[in-house]
Symmetry: C2
Subunit: 215 residues, 2 copies
DNA sequence: TCCAACGTAGCACGGGTGTGCTATAAAGCA
DNA sequence: TGCTTTATAGCACACCCGTGCTACGTTGGA
């Protein structure tokens, strides 16, 4: 046989090709032919690793959701072992820093946000993708819930907050900022993102934030 | 000739058919054939009113943007002639009420939000639609700017606010809530929308809001 | 009454797409 | 060496798409 290839690695490479096509032309143009060309493969080769276009699409979104989920888990893990003796201002800064990971503040995260928006909006009318869109939504909601609860437990937040309502609001704010930055980058760029997040966290916090904006 | 038809009215009817297809199947399935079938017309008839598929698409988005813009203008007009003797609480309530017009709180506005999301996300990779997406964005931003400035001028807002930064944040919050309500209606429904808006306006206001939630 | 204008309808063509199926070269294994 | 497995590649078909073009009623005006 030809030089043995790790099938999982190949599948992931093809998925990355889908991401590039989706960013450049939109997910609706991610045909087998277009993706194969983007990956530098023949259409028959791609089909050797996927049952068909639907299978390819589902794998790509699941792969994307898994990567995003892993990053969220890692971020939450960072606040799970806090220094309980540190002053509240440091906890506020940590909360702001972890939430800034979600925003498209650099090119890498902006590319990811473009793919995220393509998949998550497309899933509305694609039953086979909806499941993964819901997973991504719930995972981010859980992350924000967890971070807010942790910060509140450390006394970093204003007393008397309705944490559930604040999660819904912060969740919408973060995704709204991300959407605006993806769709209208001339209007909402990294400075606006960082400023909006800092301002919002400051309103939730018991102490004002410190340090530079997390660009 | 057959019973004379108002061409403008026909074009608008076809545009409404596009909206229905976009909501049900996604904008990428709004082909000439699908739209004609949805409108109850033959494909040749649709082509009698449009130069082609691109022309149809552009008209539909412009028609949508014009309707949305007209509604925004009307809403702003309501706050343009305020009762300067009224207490600040009434101005806060008016601000909340006008902004609630943007949110998908009932079926009609939810349908509009679905179409809006389809067009505005699709425009990212469609140069001929980008212009109208930017217009819609700027119009909403202008509305929020205007409403915040008016409310502030009437003493309804907390003193010392950075109105520009607050506009960016409120804009992202509103569009983020709308997107969540469209994509995950089981997670974010009308009660969550109304509550989040009320809570946010309350934080901006000099006085607490009154009255029932604007469902 | 006749004709020109208009609304409606549809054929036919080239192009893109997913998929069933086949072919071939390369490399591991006996 | 010879056989099998694997990766790659591509043909062929049916389907959907936009569009150029033609055809045919229907209705208003001369």
């Amino acid at each position: 046989m030809p030089k043995l290839v790790d099938p999982g690695e190949r599948r992931r490479e093809v998925a990355e090709a889908i991401f590039r096509v989706a960013r450049r032309d939109g997910l609706e143009h991610a045909s087998l032919r277009a993706v194969a060309a983007e990956a530098g493969l023949a259409i028959g080769s791609v089909r050797h690793y996927f049952d068909g276009q639907a299978d390819l699409m589902i794998f790509a979104m699941r792969y994307f959701a898994e990567r995003a989920g892993a990053r969220i888990l890692a971020a939450v893990g960072q606040l799970r072992t806090p220094d309980t003796d540190a002053p509240p201002a440091e906890h506020v800064a940590a909360l702001e820093r972890l939430l800034a990971e979600i925003l498209p503040l650099d090119d890498r995260r902006r590319e990811e946000a473009e793919v995220w928006l393509a998949f998550t909006t497309s899933a509305r009318t694609r039953p086979d993708l909806r499941r993964h869109a819901l997973e991504m939504f719930d995972e981010l909601a859980w992350m924000i819930d967890t971070l807010l609860a942790a910060a509140d437990g450390l006394g970093a937040l204003r007393p008397g907050l309705d944490l559930h309502a604040e999660r819904i609001r912060l969740n919408a704010l973060l995704d709204g900022l991300t959407m605006h930055s993806v769709l209208q980058p001339d209007r909402v760029g990294p400075p606006e993102l960082a400023e909006a997040l800092r301002h919002h966290i400051a309103e939730l916090s018991a102490v004002p934030p410190e340090g530079p904006l997390p660009l």
